[in-house]
Every structure is written in C-alpha cells, then in structure tokens.
C-alpha cells in the first residue's frame, strides 16, 4: 500500500496523544507511521488570498513526490505503488 498523503494543517492532530492505557505512550503520527505500509507523507497547499479571494495556490504535492522518489528511503516509499489492493 502506498504512502498516505496528509494535506495542510494535520499537524496538531498528528501530535495528539492517544489514550494511554497501561503506561503506553503513543501519538497518532507514530501509530500511523507503523500501521500504514507506506508511512505518512505530507503534501501541502498554500493559498495566497486577498479579501477572501484565492489568488494563488501553491501545491507542494508534486514537489514532495519528486523529492520522495529521489530519496526512496525505507518507511517513506516502497510497498505497493498502485494504491490499496484487495486480494
């Protein structure tokens, strides 16, 4: 299964500490990093706007993709490149 992209302000959500049972410290980002085959990869979008009119959208998804394909580090890339597959 390929990496899952998180867009925008998922930051705060990711650091939330999941309920600690029996002295276990886990946060969402650490959990997802382990249970998802491709780990968590971020894409981002920055929108420049004036008076609520979106003028420029800078999408970083392509940029992250190309950086990722150059790095090919275990845990970020790898696994099934075609997305989730039901066998």
């Amino acid at each position: 299964m390929a990496a899952v992209l998180v867009r925008g302000r998922a930051g705060r959500r990711m650091t939330e500490v999941l309920s600690a049972q029996e002295d276990r410290r886990i946060s969402l980002v650490d959990l997802l990093d382990r249970v998802l085959a491709g780990g968590v990869v971020i894409s981002g979008e920055v929108v420049l706007s004036i008076a609520d009119v979106d003028l420029v959208v800078i999408s970083l998804r392509t940029l992250v993709s190309s950086v990722g394909s150059l790095m090919s580090v275990e845990g970020i890339t790898g696994g099934d490149h075609d997305g989730p597959r039901v066998r």
Partner: protein, 104 residues
C-alpha cells in the same frame, strides 16, 4: 512514489490572508521574504566560492561589501514596515519553513 492513486488526507487549506487594510504589509512581507531567500542563497554561494578558492581578494571584498550592504538594507526595510525577522518566512507545510529559523 506518490501519485493520484495515493490517499490524501484532506485538511483545511492554509491561507495567507490579508484584509484590505493590511494588503500592503502582507505583500511587503512576501516580497521581503523572497528577497531574503535570494540574499541567503547568494551569501551561501559566495561562501562556497571562497571555500573553493575561486575568488580573488578584490572579488571577496566586493562581494562581501555588497552582501553586507544588502543585509543592512534588509534590516532597514524590515524595521520600516514593522516586521520582525520571524515574519519574513513562509511555512511550506511538509517542507518546513522556507528560511532556516535557527540562528547563523
């Protein structure tokens, strides 16, 4: 690695918004941030050439003076528009901030 097949966890877009009253300040900070980016890139490039021994003493002095004056000008402009050093930055989300936030 990633492509249209991958899951995107959608969250609200990050907006750099400006109301009419602060449009000028918003544009100025954006412009100054980009100038600052170029200044830092040029500075690093110059230092690399010094390290590689590619510049004469005269060139080092000229480039150094220019960069020094550019930095002084940046400080002037920033202070004129009442912006702190931290304001001259763009958060690129996954890539972190555009400019380094730690000193040096």
């Amino acid at each position: 690695m990633t492509g249209p097949e991958c899951g995107d966890l959608v969250a609200p877009r990050q907006r750099i918004n400006s109301d009419p009253a602060t449009v000028e300040r918003g544009l100025v900070s954006l412009v100054l941030t980009l100038v600052e980016l170029l200044r830092q890139l040029m500075e690093r490039q110059a230092i690399r050439r010094v390290d590689d021994g590619l510049l004469t003493e005269e060139q080092i002095e000229r480039v150094g003076t220019t960069l020094m004056l550019l930095e002084e000008k940046m400080v002037e402009l920033r202070e004129h528009f009442d912006l702190r050093p931290e304001d001259l930055n763009i958060d690129l989300g996954p890539l972190g901030p555009l400019l380094p936030t730690d000193p040096a």
